[in-house]
Amino acid sequence: MSEPLLKVEQLCKSFGGVVATDNLDFDVMPGEIHAVIGPNGAGKTTFVAQIAGMLKSDSGSITFDGNDIAGKTAPERSHMGLARSFQITSVFKNFTALENVALSIQAHAGHSFKFWKRASGDKTLIEPAQKILDDVGLGDKALNLAGNLAHGQQRQLEIAMALATSPKMLLLDEPTAGMGTEESEIMRKFLNDLKGDYSMLLIEHDMDTVFSLADRVTVLVYGRGIATGTPKEIRNNAEVRSAYLGEDE
């Protein structure tokens, strides 16, 4: 078996008395979708923020693509090939959809100490950005302000921005958050299309999405991984049922 692309060992993070990540071991194989589920406040978003470099871990190690990334900043990790999306939609609302994606491309097209040429007329940014928007099905919304897009479209734009950084791995924090069933369905299809091309850490509350997309699932409760396995194993795991799934049924 090949090496995991992402390997997390004994990761810890507390906020005062609250333990958000508790000696967590976790890995994602190349091309794999590894989902993380767990009740509200389990520490899922905290975990993503630690991997993406926005929160400093108290202890433990994170290895990505063979490198220890503990000391790297968030932008450095982005350049190594880690891209995250946010649970709370974080698109640039007063930029157009096209400008949002172009900004991601710009971030990976050399330094930005370029003071003169108009960025929104720059073909080397606009053309690839348009292509990505076409790919995610937002092509005809390119010139709309991101803030004017429907919620589901903003969630898609959120992922388009991550894709535009040409990542090796996507960290997706509840891509279907706040979506209706129809929008969720579109997002699920979209993620299914990406499957195989990108490794993913997928956080998701919607069990249908998790069980249809994930290769493996880890259940997080109070920052601890209480079980990891295939979707089928997780569904049949008694501890998981009582700790988490049971609450929903």
């Binding site: 932008p75 891209a83 974080s90 710009q106 930005s112 003071f115």
Partner: protein, 318 residues
């Protein structure tokens, strides 16, 4: 892009400014005093515009921006005091000096955000103000006359009112154009993006700190140039320009004109200084009356005077 209307208003204003000395000195009007008044307005326009560059587009709410206005006048004043009156040399010292100080102060203050940023920029600028007061060699808090204006070309004597006036107008036009280009460049997109959502910018791969710092330095240098002109125009060096009250005035000019519009503050400076002039004729407590006007404006026109014009395409992201 600017709407046609806004572009026309802008170009029209510059043309009026260009024609003003001739009109003011014509026999019919004969009020040369207006030339000096508008020269002053234009200098504060440059300063306010430079503040809007970081405040409106980068959410760096600097409450110490007038510091750079003061530093510019000190550059001219101190050098003139030692009979170093070569304008190019003074300009070089002014630019490199304000750039250096803005770099250091940015390095300190940009590590904070929100109210802390406001407070720290305020405190650092006040430090320089008190330093100015304590410099007896340059007149302490009384200030010091500047005997000689900067000398650039033999055929362009700044003691000629018109030359001084057109130097200021030229600087204003160039500064407006350059800052506008920067705002719409790749660099400008980074600054505006980080205003809107810094965490997001970092997540997509921008080390935003150094871009924000560079923007802070650019704003400082442009404001320093305004100070350079101010020293020459008033022929006087005083720490008073570094006082927080002046920084507050610049903020008001930006708000009145329209935050994050770049050109709005030109009109904000004009409106503020005219209002000051006008109200001061009636009462020495003119600020008392200015306050409510300001509040009304901020309540009813979020984007200030400039925002009252139709066409919203030049609003910065927030």
């Amino acid at each position: 892009m600017l709407s046609k209307l806004k572009l026309s208003i802008l170009i029209g204003s510059f043309l009026i400014l260009a024609a003003l000395p001739m009109v003011a000195e014509s026999e019919m009007i004969d009020e040369p005093f207006y030339i000096d008044l508008m020269a002053r307005v234009m200098i504060f326009s440059i300063a306010a515009m430079s503040l809007d560059f970081i405040l409106g587009y980068g959410a760096m709410i600097s409450f110490g921006h007038a510091l750079y206005l003061g530093l510019g006048t000190y550059a001219v004043g101190i050098m003139a005091h030692y009979e170093l009156t070569n304008g190019w040399m003074q300009l070089l010292v002014c630019i490199s000096g304000t750039a250096f100080i803005a770099f250091i102060l940015g390095l300190i203050s940009l590590r904070t955000s929100g109210i802390y940023f406001i407070m720290i920029t305020f405190a650092l600028a006040q430090m320089f103000y008190f330093l100015g007061i304590s410099l007896e060699a340059f007149g302490g808090d009384d200030g010091l006359p500047i005997d000689t204006r900067s000398e650039f070309f033999s055929f362009f004597d700044l003691n000629e009112t018109w030359n001084m006036y057109y130097l200021i107008l030229g600087t204003l036009v160039v500064a407006a154009l350059v800052l506008w280009k920067i705002i719409n460049s790749r660099f400008g997109m980074v600054v505006r993006g980080s205003h809107s959502n810094d965490a997001r910018m970092q997540a997509i791969g921008f080390p935003t700190f150094k871009y924000r710092l560079a923007a802070f330095v650019i704003a400082g240098v442009v404001c320093g140039l305004a100070g350079f002109l101010l020293g020459n125009l008033t022929e006087f060096l005083t720490p008073e320009y570094m006082h927080w009250f002046r920084s507050g005035e610049l903020m008001i000019m930006v708000m009145v004109g329209g935050m994050g519009t770049l050109f709005g503050p030109l009109f904000g400076a004009f409106a503020y200084l005219m209002m000051e002039d006008f109200l001061a004729n009636f009462t020495e407590y003119w600020q008392f009356y200015f306050g409510p006007i300001l509040i009304l404006l901020v309540l009813f026109a979020k984007q200030g005077l400039w925002g009252m014009l139709p066409g919203k395409e030049d609003i910065s992201d927030e």
